[in-house]
């Protein structure tokens, strides 16, 4: 696969310069995607070819943003208003080779539908009479090019597949569960593992109830730990993050807590050599063995007292204005620790396997609440299903209470890709209601 013909970006930059817009950036994107949707009674196959562009430009007194489909044309441009826009200088990044799976063709219609059908079958075999209500598989690839008046000129490619599943358990008052996962290509989705995850959640939702109020040791499966990490993100992004973290006082986490963001994480869904402004990406350790090192910083936020910057300005699509945020933000796993070892360490507590709705995070008050399901655990063994419960606690207490992490790192598409292995923690509470 090669980068397709993209119009002359210099011509667009020249047209902006003629309007005295000395800070200018042109972004063009070409994409192809296939979308397959399966329900109990319908089946839909869509193919799309996308072709679009975006321009940011300005001078000392203001700026503009314009975006559209087709090829960019040299104007007309909207009025320049608001604040000035600042663009990065060209920066050298470490060498990087595009992964070979960027070249794999999009999934075919039959192959994609087979994947969705097999998910339905696997679900029914894991949990008899459970059914897949809706499955949506999207698979896309794109190439983009960026040029700016500062001399930045980059080309990048991406490949992303997402899978959304809605399932219902057996019985007339059937519980439902949803799942949304992303990978670089759809062949990485394993129907048996995904069906098992849905089936587990449906089974505990049907049979479980919440404890009135309980504490103990908590083993949090990756989907639960990931949601907690996502809720903590505002503490770690941007120059004000240092202040927020300081307000938590002392260590940020236990020795087992190392938090990293890496825009070029090998195998990551958003793996790329550059970010949405053409700045090279790299790995940044934000928290190392519980000690806060630095916040996630963009090129314009870099300062010697804050830490070093990385390419972390995301451009989710051509319609979006570039915005700072994590790309692959994760809790470092411990390759020596299987999940079974962590579960065996739970004397009295809970193994929480999934999140069942949106959580509540109050960073100012240092508390969170997350609706969860899972199992009560006695002496390392599941003793009863738990559902309809809220996992509650303080953010600082959670991070400091991490006793160990597993090796089963898994990512979820939330605000960027957020990843975590299973986490064994104390200092949390399970409640029937808030």
């Amino acid at each position: 696969m090669t980068v397709s013909t993209i119009p002359d970006l210099d011509e667009i930059l020249r047209s902006l310069l003629r309007r005295h817009l000395t800070e200018a950036e042109v972004f063009v994107k070409r994409g192809r995607s296939r979308r397959l949707e399966l329900t109990a009674v319908t089946e839909a196959s869509s193919t799309s070819q996308e072709k679009a562009w975006a321009v940011r430009a300005g001078h000392r007194k203001g700026s503009l943003f314009a975006a559209g489909t087709g090829d960019p044309t040299p104007g007309p441009w909207p009025d320049v208003t608001g604040r000035a826009v600042e663009l990065p200088e060209p920066m050298a990044g470490a060498p990087w080779n595009p992964p070979s799976d960027f070249d794999t063709p999009l999934i075919g219609e039959r192959e994609g539908l087979k994947l969705l059908e097999s998910l339905g079958r696997e679900l029914a075999s894991e949990l008899p009479r459970a059914r897949l209500l809706r499955g949506v598989l999207e698979d896309g690839s794109s190439e983009s090019e960026l040029a700016s008046s500062r001399g930045v000129r980059t080309r990048s490619r991406s490949r992303l597949s997402t899978l959304y599943l809605e399932a219902a358990g057996p019985g007339p008052a059937a519980p439902t569960a949803t799942l949304y996962v992303a990978a670089r290509e759809p062949r990485r989705f394993h129907p048996t593992a995904l069906a098992r995850r849905l089936a587990d959640r449906l089974a505990v939702s049907a049979a479980g109830g919440p404890p009135e109020r309980d504490t103990g040791e908590f083993l949090l499966a990756p989907p639960v730990a990931v949601r907690l990490l996502a809720g903590l993100l505002p503490l770690l992004v941007g120059p004000a993050a240092g202040f927020r973290v300081t307000s938590l006082r002392g260590r940020l986490g236990s020795d087992a807590v190392t938090l990293i963001d890496n825009g070029r994480l090998p195998g990551g869904a958003f793996e790329s050599a550059v970010d949405g402004e053409g700045v090279p990406t790299r790995e940044v350790v934000l928290v190392e063995e519980g000690i806060f090192r630095q916040p996630l910083l963009t090129w314009w936020q870099e300062g010697s007292h804050l830490g070093v910057s990385s390419g972390c300005v995301r451009r989710a699509g051509w319609r979006d204005i570039p915005n700072p945020g994590p790309t692959h933000f994760y809790l470092k796993p411990d390759p020596r620790t299987p999940v079974a070892t962590l579960l065996g360490a739970v004397n009295q507590g809970y193994y929480l396997i999934d999140v069942t709705g949106p959580g509540r995070f109050d960073l100012a008050e240092d508390r969170f609440a997350l609706p969860v399901c899972g199992f009560a655990v006695q002496a390392g063994r599941a003793s009863a299903p738990v559902a309809g419960a809220w996992l509650c606690g303080g953010i600082a207490a959670f991070l400091r209470g991490v006793l160990g992490v597993g090796r089963d790192l898994a990512f979820q598409p939330l605000d960027g890709m957020i990843g975590s292995p299973s986490v064994l923690a104390t200092g949390l509470e399970l409640r029937a209601r808030l």
Binding site: V41, E43, A52, G58, S63, T69, D79, G82, R83
Partner: protein, 437 residues
């Protein structure tokens, strides 16, 4: 109109080549969108412009749909898309119809946006309160032309505005069809109510009487009636036509979906599939009369009428969705509604609602409420929610207000398709409902 010069007969002839069976559903959907946003004060790119156009060709046969979309309106791209959705390979290339589209207006501009943040600020200050707040205002325009092999309806156009207020204590968003003084006054009143309720404690959970204001009613019935009666939602539990005739709500509740009666600017004569819209009685006297259906679902049963097919994007197939919900007024005055609701709660607005389509479990999130005492509104309480099962909750309506107002416009996201929805609703009184916090 960008599509007034489109050679629709030629497009129709081309489409007829892929409709091999009489029951095949084939259409081409052309759209242009323009959005202009005045960003919040202090942000770069004060004026932001998005312009896009493209088309989708669709073939539906025996419950299966094939769709091909492009981000340009060009003859060659159209012929390629036809080839992608056609089930039988044509030995000859498909013809490339002339696709003449009028270019967009020269420099994008939206003068009406420029003064609205200041008008809103003035309207907020008129309540004798002051707090830092930033406004983003966006104009949304869409032009649509649908072409079928046998039917070419007229073009459609929509224009509306979205406005978001952001303050340190919260966020409020609204959809508007005009940016005038009345819109500023109404939105400012909601923002000030939220501000005044920002530190109010949530009420203790209780089961009792609640009076819902028109805006909260619109969200409630959008989730509990409109979504619940979409043919694809009904199909999750069985045959959609089986819902017809079911008593779903109190006999005092009449709920319609009528895109032709929507506010000016978003009023429609045809849907996004080119079918004529209908004044659709979702509930008449509390009984299900006509579920929401698009062309595809209407093919499955003579009971289901098309006309409610909507598309959030050309890249996705259409689906049955509500556009403009209308709840008919009853006979209770505001005083009557409150008089019978002593020690209950008045719920003026809802921030969002959600429905578990399979279990019928419904939750309406309310950013604040007022206590009702001695037939009047008393102190403000903080965030709470109204919860219940649709089948039970809607039977608890005991009175319908006598004045229906435009209310509850907002974004609705289902199946990855985000669309504006509109409503006209009176206030309702419900008894024996569960309010939690």
């Amino acid at each position: 109109m960008p599509f007034s010069e489109l050679d629709t007969p030629a497009v129709a002839r081309t489409l007829s080549q892929i409709a091999e069976k009489p029951e095949d559903l084939v259409d081409a959907y052309f759209e242009r969108r323009e959005e202009i946003e005045l960003a919040p004060e202090g942000e770069s790119s004060g004026l932001r412009v998005w312009r896009e156009e493209g088309f989708a060709v669709r073939l539906a046969r025996e419950g299966k749909t094939w769709l091909a979309a492009r981000d340009s309106i060009e003859p060659r791209a159209f012929a390629e898309a036809l080839r992608q959705v056609a089930r039988a390979l044509s030995s000859a290339a498909y013809p490339e119809p002339a696709l003449q589209v009028r270019p967009p207006a020269e420099a994008p501009a939206a003068q009406e946006l420029l003064g609205f943040p200041a008008a809103l600020s003035r309207a907020v200050r008129a309540h004798h309160v002051g707090f830092p707040v930033r406004f983003a205002v966006r104009r949304h325009q869409r032009w649509v032309q649908v072409v079928g092999p046998r039917l070419v309806p007229g073009p459609e156009a929509e224009t509306f505005y979205s406005c978001v207020a952001e303050a340190s204590w919260g966020r409020y968003g609204a959809l508007l069809t005009r940016l005038d003084a009345e819109a500023a006054t109404t939105m400012a009143a909601s923002i000030v109510s939220l501000f005044r309720a920002r530190q109010a404690a949530s009420p203790e959970p209780f089961r009792g009487v609640a009076v819902l204001g028109p805006a909260a009613v619109a969200v409630l019935l959008h989730e509990a009636v409109a979504h619940a009666l979409e043919a694809d939602t009904l199909a999750q539990g069985g045959n959609p036509e089986a819902a017809v005739g079911v008593a779903m709500a109190a006999a005092s509740l009449d709920v319609l979906d009528d895109p032709a009666a929507a506010p000016e600017g978003v009023r429609r004569a045809t849907d996004d599939e080119g079918s004529a819209v209908v004044r659709r009685w979702l509930l008449r006297g509390g009984i299900v009369e006509q579920p929401l259906a698009d062309s595809l679902w209407a093919l499955t049963s003579p009971v289901l009428l098309p006309g409610a097919g909507r598309r959030g994007s050309r890249h996705l197939p259409p689906g049955p969705r509500s556009s403009h919900l209308e709840i008919l007024p009853g006979e209770a005055s505001q005083e009557d509604l409150l008089a019978e609701a002593d020690e209950g709660l008045y719920l003026p607005e809802a921030s969002r609602g959600s429905l578990d389509t399979l279990s019928g479990e419904f939750t309406l999130h309310l950013p604040f409420a007022r206590r009702i005492r001695r037939g009047g509104l008393a102190e403000t309480v903080g965030p709470c929610f109204l919860r219940g099962r649709v089948a039970d909750l809607l039977t608890r309506v005991t009175a319908v207000g006598d004045e229906a107002k435009p209310a509850g416009a907002g974004w609705c996201a289902k199946g990855g398709q985000k669309m504006p929805v509109w409503a006209t609703a009176p206030a309702l009184r419900l008894e024996g409902v569960e309010v939690g916090s």
